[in-house]
């Protein structure tokens, strides 16, 4: 009985939570008791009882108390405080419990027991284990993350800010106006800045957690995700919309000083080994985040290319360290598609962007694989724009600082070929290279040839150039061809002479015309000098010029006589040859004498002819003029509009025009309109457009297709294509444009829509 009481007392003493501090038990008092226990073989039993009691305490009080803090939270600061308090309370409890543990330890020391509890021979470790496992068993998923995150976020902000302030300190003492009111670190007013206390709390909390070996378990995940977020934020903040600075070094420095610095503080007393590992991971993460950010901005970077060179360089370095090429390709392609390849963008803009991307990607990936894959849709899209070639040719030859013109002058780059001398530097293609296009020749670096290759053939390009050249030569009506000759020479460096032969002849025509004109005018035999007005001609070799837009125009008799004289003179000079005039092409410089004023204008022949007839009588109807000039009323009306805008003609009643002799006040008002109208006239091409030419070719195909289907009933598109290739191309010569199966299908389907063809079961046939 008495033994029993004694045991109960001993147990109470061991557990002794309340009065533990006042008690001072010396080893001398203690050891006999322990020895008695040993004697009765109660020691182990007692130990188990005590541990059991502790476990119960932890389970019922400590752990719920700790987690209770995690259930509510107002804001970050609140979360920070809650976590700090929870950890502090936990530590107090731990200290409390460890008193009992110490007594047990003492007993074990005296008895020299080496028994292990939960695999731990040290009882203090056992206590920690109990706390850890109990905490884990009561983990309030998923709330607990939030509070911990708050805690570390706040502390990181403070740290980040202090680091920044430290960095900025040298540069500027008072950063900006806002800072005077609020502390960046703790978002409190500056005179109540809690940064210091926060850092202290942070340190103490971390120390406790490290001591309890809870740090990694409780916070590892949270800290990692927090750091990821912070890195992303920082990268995005730093390099938003700024492409002309390289950010790799500053970012790495930031990572090393701020992030790693913070981690060092966090883990200061633990071993450094996880830190190194962690650092590498973070570095990779930094690169990846940065690369992603840059890729998101890549389209803008490309547009600003020569200025955004550092950004491209950064990206190049980063791409080597990360595995994001595929991501880049898809992202950039999508960006190009959404921002560039839709009807709202002008062709010149697309071409500018294309050129910029060629340049930028060339630097990004010298092998050209990226360029090849990324710009594929752009090329495809440009191919279906009708004015692509025209724009390319125009920007090639236009005056002023055109990028393409510079490129043309620069000449073709010699590089790109495999040099046998540095074969040791050969590297295989990147992994995303297109297998079928393994030959390096196709990946040309030359921007001009890349543009020309949009169409796949140089012929289209040369044809377009020819049209443009013709246009320019005929619209300017000057005999100055030096500039054109220079461009032609430059183009000849890139294209075969034979392709540009036509253009050469055209330029020579202009030059010859000038010579012939001077000759005819200076020599009195030809009688040109006796004419009322001087007439010069542009003599073109019809064979070599692109087809003109056909327009009819009957010139007034007097002018025709002049032309006649000129023709005679020409025939005398060049036996066996004559001239066939294109009356609608040309320019007329004329003085118009009206009551009290004289106008000097340079206009087109049709406009001149219209005003000519107003010499005879001052009022004409559209129909009368139309029959005289052999011009359709619609065209005529447009031309008359020019004279109306000049204030010379007035529409008195519908379709009837009257010459206005006296100048009215209207003239000044309409000058703006005049300019606009004149400009409109000038930009109109006199050449048959490429589109018209193509239509004509397709018309030829259509006649053949009709013939084919009339006699052979129904045919699949492949067979039609084959037959066309056999019979049309063979008979029309190689100059006739080729027609791909794809284009043919397109054309046939159009005819089906127009109800000119029927399509069923893969066969086309004519409707009955």
């Amino acid at each position: 009985m008495s033994k029993c009481i004694r045991f109960s007392e001993t147990f109470q003493w061991f557990i002794g939570f309340q009065s533990s501090e006042e008690e001072t038990v010396t080893v001398d008092e203690f050891s006999p008791l322990v020895l008695t226990l040993k004697e009765k073989e109660f020691d182990q039993f007692l130990e188990e009882l005590v541990i059991d009691k502790i476990e119960e305490r932890v389970r019922l009080n400590v752990s719920p108390e700790f987690w209770a803090e995690f259930y509510t939270r107002e804001d970050e600061m609140d979360g920070f405080k809650r976590f700090r308090n929870a950890v502090k309370k936990l530590y107090d409890r731990y200290m409390h419990l460890s008193l009992s543990i110490k007594k047990l330890e003492l007993m074990r020391l005296i008895l020299n027991v080496k028994r292990t509890i939960y695999g731990q021979s040290n009882l203090d470790e056992t206590l920690k284990l109990i706390i850890r496992s109990t905490l884990h068993s009561q983990l309030p998923i998923p709330r607990y993350h939030k509070i911990i995150e708050d805690f570390y976020k706040v502390s990181f902000q403070v740290f980040y800010n202090s680091e920044k302030a430290y960095r900025d300190f040298g540069v500027e003492l008072n950063e900006s106006g806002e800072d005077t009111l609020q502390c960046n670190g703790c978002s409190a007013e500056i005179d109540q800045c809690k940064c210091k206390s926060i850092i202290e709390d942070f340190h103490s909390t971390n120390r406790i957690l490290i001591q309890l070996e809870l740090l990694e378990r409780l916070t590892g995940e949270v800290v990692t995700s927090l750091l990821h977020k912070q890195i992303e934020c920082h990268v995005q903040d730093t390099c938003k919309g700024n492409f002309d600075i390289s950010y790799i070094t500053p970012l790495e420095k930031w990572l090393n000083t701020v992030v790693v610095g913070w981690l060092t503080v966090l883990y200061d007393s633990t071993t450094n080994s996880p830190l190194i590992n962690f650092k590498q991971k973070l570095q990779h993460l930094l690169y990846e985040t940065y690369t992603r950010t840059r890729i998101e901005q890549l389209f803008n970077i490309i547009i600003e290319y020569p200025d955004s060179d550092p950004a491209i360089e950064d990206l190049r370095v980063c791409l080597e360290k990360t595995d994001l090429r595929g991501y880049l390709t898809t992202k950039l392609q999508r960006a190009l598609e959404t921002r560039l390849l839709h009807p709202g963008v002008n062709t010149p803009d697309i071409i500018t962007a294309y050129v910029a991307s060629i340049r930028a990607l060339r630097q990004l990936d010298p092998t050209g694989v990226l360029l090849e894959t990324v710009t594929q849709p752009v090329r495809q899209y440009l191919r279906c724009r009708e004015d692509t070639m025209r724009c390319v040719v125009m920007s090639l030859t236009e005056e002023g600082p055109g990028e393409l013109a510079d490129e043309l002058v620069r000449g073709e780059e010699a590089g790109g070929e495999d040099n046998p001398h540095n074969w040791q530097e050969w590297t295989p293609d990147p992994i995303d290279a297109h297998v079928s296009k393994s030959n390096k020749d196709s990946r040309s670096w030359d921007i001009i040839s890349m543009l020309v290759n949009v169409y796949g053939s140089k012929e289209t390009f040369v044809n377009e150039y020819r049209t443009l050249l013709a246009d320019r030569l005929l619209s300017q009506f000057t005999y100055n061809t030096e500039k054109e000759i220079r461009y032609l020479e430059l183009l000849k460096l890139r294209f075969e002479d034979s392709q540009l032969h036509f253009c050469e002849v055209m330029l020579k025509d202009v030059y010859d015309s000038k010579r012939i004109n001077t000759h005819l005018h200076t020599d009195p035999i030809f009688g040109l000098s006796e004419q009322e007005f001087p007439l010069t001609a542009m003599i073109l070799s019809a064979q070599f010029w692109p087809p003109f837009k056909e327009e009819t125009l009957e010139l007034p008799q007097k002018i025709k006589e002049h032309l006649e004289t000129y023709t005679k003179a020409f025939e005398t000079l060049k036996g066996n040859r004559t001239l066939s005039w294109k009356p609608h092409l040309g320019s007329v410089n004329m003085d118009i004498e009206l009551k009290g004023r004289t106008l000097n204008l340079t206009v087109s022949p049709i406009q001149a002819a219209i005003i000519w007839y107003f010499q005879e009588k001052s009022q004409w109807t559209i129909d009368e003029l139309s029959t005289l000039l052999v011009v359709s009323p619609t065209v005529l009306r447009r031309r008359i509009a020019f004279w109306q805008s000049q204030g010379l003609l007035r529409e008195v009643s519908s379709d009837t025009f009257l010459l206005v002799e006296e100048s009215g006040g209207r003239v000044s008002k309409t000058t703006a309109v005049t300019e606009m109208l004149c400009e409109d006239d000038e930009t109109e091409s006199i050449m048959a457009s490429a589109h018209d030419q193509r239509e004509e070719e397709l018309q030829v195909f259509w006649s053949y297709i009709v013939g084919m289907l009339t006699n052979l009933d129904s045919l699949p598109p492949e067979r039609i294509h084959q037959m066309l290739k056999m019979f049309v191309v063979a008979s029309q010569g190689p100059s006739s444009a080729e027609c791909s199966l794809q284009q043919l299908r397109h054309f046939l389907d159009r005819k089906v829509r127009e109800h000119k063809l029927l399509f069923s079961g893969g066969f086309y046939r004519l409707p009955k």
Binding site: G707, T710, N711, L712, F727, A730, S731, Q732
Partner: protein, 154 residues
């Protein structure tokens, strides 16, 4: 009718056949080339002329065998009918007339049950100046009754 004489035939008639075989085949291929060119050109003319009522096109890849379509001339009993013909060009074309026969049955005094046509320009009155277009137009007018003179001897 000088243009009706094929220079190749005259040459082979005067020369001794065995010694000239090599040259002959060479001649033939050259000839073939000329014939192909001529037929190509005829096809182009025919296609571009947009002739109503008659049409022809090579049957497959062989340029020497064409299929033609003739619509019955309006105002005749043949109006509304469409006739198919086969044209076979000899290698000596255009010095020899092509072989033309109806593939759709045609009831006409100048056409036999096999589709053979009795038309002078396809026989003794053939001239190298004729081409596919004129042949087809002649046959069309034959249906119209203009040439229905010599009744085909069955």
């Amino acid at each position: 009718m000088a243009q009706n004489i094929n220079p190749y035939h005259r040459q082979s008639a005067t020369a001794t056949p065995p010694s000239k075989t090599n040259e002959e085949s060479q001649n033939r291929s050259q000839d073939n080339h000329a014939v192909t060119k001529r037929l190509q050109k005829e096809l182009m003319v025919l296609m571009m002329s947009g002739e109503k009522g008659v049409s022809a096109f090579p049957d497959g890849e062989n340029l020497f065998r064409w299929i033609a379509t003739i619509e019955g001339p309006p105002g005749t009993v043949y109006e509304g009918h469409v006739f198919r013909l086969g044209l076979e060009f000899p290698h000596s074309y255009p010095y020899c007339a092509p072989l033309v026969r109806f593939t759709t049955p045609c009831f006409h005094p100048n056409v036999d049950t096999a589709g053979n046509i009795c038309l002078d320009i396809l026989k003794e009155k053939w001239s190298a100046l004729y081409d596919v277009r004129t042949i087809l137009l002649s046959i069309q007018s034959l249906l119209g009754g203009e040439f229905a003179l010599g009744i085909y001897s069955f």
